[in-house]
Point group: C3
Chain length 138, copies 3
């Protein structure tokens, strides 16, 4: 049994972190899958999916970490070549990866209490984001 849905959301960029746990859980419920996997994948090369305890202080810490690892004000060849100023966004996205796969058990996501699924939009401007949620199982 396979069931997939696209989700769209408005993101602010600069590694904006958006909790999508409930939207993913809803798609799992709609799928009818009781036991299986759900893959959450962001389409685009300047965003990532991960899990985090999604509270504002930690989200700010996480954005600081990404700023240290791939600074937004550091010139990039990508920027020099194409005139884009979002080289740092691509670097963060490729380092973190585009998606995660979470087990589904008894129709529910297998997550810790303080573990939320989030989309991280690394781009340098607000934009609409699409992620695809694919549920596979029985």
């Amino acid at each position: 049994m396979v069931h997939g849905e696209e989700i769209t959301l408005s993101a602010k960029g600069h590694s904006d972190v958006i909790d999508i746990t409930e939207r993913v859980a809803k798609i799992v419920r709609a799928s009818g899958v009781r036991e299986g996997l759900v893959a959450v994948h962001v389409t685009g090369s300047t965003a990532s999916i991960t899990t985090i305890e999604c509270e504002p202080a930690l989200v700010a810490d996480f954005r600081d970490l990404l700023e240290r690892l791939a600074p937004s004000d550091k010139p990039t060849r990508h920027g020099d070549t194409w005139g884009d100023d979002n080289g740092f966004s691509h670097l963060r996205a490729s380092l973190m990866g585009p998606g995660i796969t979470v087990p589904v058990r008894a129709g529910r996501l297998v997550l810790g209490t303080w573990q939320q699924i989030v989309l991280v939009d690394h781009d340098n401007r607000p934009r609409e984001r699409q992620a695809f949620v694919q549920v596979v199982g029985e």
Copy 2:
């Protein structure tokens, strides 16, 4: 065909690295799945799953790397806000991600000879850890 099992293990924290390859392989064998996928996911927001050549020198190098990227003695907003001292643990976990998915072929994990599946416990104290292993295939 879907088969899932939870595994529990004792971890020391501070990015302790624990080889779980044999436990995952055993669950794959128990599943009866010959061709498919196995998702290994840690429940909790201060641990990760990855692969590594699991020998002590490299494990020490990897812990050094994480200490450089997200130092355990650097104050965090998460710590200041909640009184927890494990902000660095969350940062490492969200950067690395909560799980991996490995192909299963002829009933075996598709891994290199020096490629082990490990749980990395980033927390700042010893604790019991749970990971969920979900096998999907035929």
Copy 3:
């Protein structure tokens, strides 16, 4: 329905980035799967799979980032212990992880226009690389 194939490619090392999107898409087409998932996993402990806008300037930026995070000239315990000079390769691989899972919809990979699937070979010498591509779905 499950269909898997191994792909082999020549890589130059030092975080050489190789676009494998077309090879993965071809295996998805060969599988006959219309709706499902494809897991792309590199066998070996010194390489990774991720997505990137695969253009030369950004690839150079990404290699610079990895060089900053895990420098190739920084001594490692792994190197001191085993006489290997590829400690940095292992560190980059374990940080990024060994694979990704991408949704398949209507027989096609769900990817953005500028989002390619790449193998990143972190090792310190040219070598043959194997990745396993497993498609699961209906």
